[in-house]
Amino acid sequence: MSEAKMRLNNPKKFDVGIITPDKPYGINVRAGTFTMVTQDELDYIMATSTLLQDGVLVLNGEKQKELADAMGIELENNANFMSDEDIKKKLSGNANQLRKWLDSDDIKPYVLSRIAELAKGMNLALSKIQVLQEKLPNYDFLSKD
């Protein structure tokens, strides 16, 4: 009987390549698509790369929660795994809370730029823009384009 497979999603805007023991030359998981992997393959990807730890690739629902627990990651508070709605909630807090959140996690660049894009559409207070500007000194939060 073949081993049960789970869905490994690439929700990002860019392609992600993965190498597994039986695919040593790798396969490409295109942006916005998924691939099916076994538990062994998942373990191998986790052992050889940071793609799952950094939230580049994610599992579905409960499986992702189990994986995050195993890695010691709090999904609700880790920006690398948050949905747009959760990020907007964090951006709605006050400037001190925002600073604490941005300083507390090892936030990956692709998440920072997503946070910036979302912040730009939210008409935030200047104090919060200043906190964000410290993290992204060259991002233009004020222009319309």
């Binding site: 390549g17 940071t50 997503r114």
Partner: protein, 336 residues
């Protein structure tokens, strides 16, 4: 007789060579150190200014020489103090329309925007005991080496951060990642520029470039699964540690200096590959870097502890302006 140190003075080259740990004739080295000791032993304002000038010229030269990172990846402008650099960014412009004969064609115009960057300062403030400098216990070359490396590391970390923070937002085919170099992810990124610009050059740290050879193999029989490599690829890899060409793209090593902080870390992230389209003007590159003036120095002596300090500053800034598209690709190797 008052000594005046200029940019092209021989002592600048000697101290520079000493700071870079280059081999030097001992007499030449001693003469240079003696001159610095002579200047320090009579610490009048002019002499201290001359030593600060010497440090400034040497630091300036070191900072400009150590890597080709900016030359190959950025659109760099150097302007005078007080001047502003303007970068021209092309935006989506003229469009064509299919419509009924005689209908009015909507007007579109060629569109550009200019990006002007305010500069920041990368600054170091090395301090030295004036008595130690007078009697030769402290070495000006060490001071120059430390100051320039620290300024350089801070500046390049900033510039790299600007690029890396923006690149993943460009999406496919300008950005890709993988648990190692994955051919089916990397090849379309290179192929994109072969189609769009006629060719590409791959720039990367030698550690990453050396992995490209593994991607050149092919499996003759899918059931056998043994990867085959061309003989010349194996020889080239053995001789040069990297192959000269991958998928028609020239493979070039980025000069990645070692950090002088006691670790074996490098200045730039060694796990990135940059795919730069050929035949594209440097002005189209998305990474814009401006340097305002050269490194400049100010110095002061502290009467309390006889310390003499030089403050070195370089004004610069970096930003991303991608315009129609970023004329650069970046592959991040996420393997551990």
């Amino acid at each position: 007789m008052a000594i005046e140190i200029r940019k092209d003075s021989q002592i600048v080259d000697v101290v520079l060579a000493e700071a870079r740990h280059e081999r030097l004739d001992s007499e030449v080295r001693e003469n240079a150190n003696q001159l610095i000791r002579d200047l320090a032993s009579d610490p009048n304002p002019n002499n201290k200014y001359q030593i600060a000038q010497l440090v400034k010229f040497a630091v300036n030269d070191i900072i400009k020489r150590d890597t080709n990172y900016l030359d190959v990846l950025a659109d760099v402008k150097r302007v005078g103090f007080g001047d502003k650099a303007e970068f021209d960014v092309k935006l989506p412009g003229v469009k064509a329309f299919i419509q009924a004969k005689g209908a009015t064609t909507p007007r579109t115009k060629n569109s550009r925007k200019t990006l002007s960057l305010e500069t920041l300062s990368v600054s170091a403030r090395p301090v030295i005991n004036i008595v130690e400098l007078q009697n030769g216990l402290a070495n000006a070359a060490d001071l120059i080496n430390d100051a320039s490396y620290q300024m350089e590391c801070a500046m390049y970390a900033f510039i790299e951060n600007v690029l890396v923070n923006a690149a993943d937002d460009w999406g496919t085919p300008y950005y890709g990642t993988g648990s190692g170099l994955v051919k089916s992810t990397l090849d379309p990124m290179i192929m994109h520029w072969i189609r769009a610009a006629g060719g590409a050059v791959i720039f990367g740290d030698i550690g990453e470039n050396t992995k490209l050879a593994q991607l050149t193999g092919f499996v003759a029989n899918s059931t056998a699964g043994t990867q085959q490599f061309a003989g010349n690829i194996i020889n080239e890899q053995n001789q040069n540690a990297v192959i000269g060409t991958y998928l028609s793209a020239k493979v070039v090593n980025l000069l990645n200096p070692l950090k002088e902080d006691g670790t074996d870390a490098f200045v730039f992230d060694a796990k990135k590959l940059f795919i730069v389209p050929t035949n594209i003007d440097a002005g189209m590159r998305p990474l814009k870097v401006v340097f305002e003036g050269d490194v400049f120095s100010t110095e002061a002596t502290n009467i309390d502890d006889l310390s003499w300090e030089i403050r070195l500053d370089q004004y610069f800034n970096a930003a991303i302006a991608k315009g129609i598209r970023p004329y650069l690709g970046m592959y991040a190797d996420s393997s551990v």
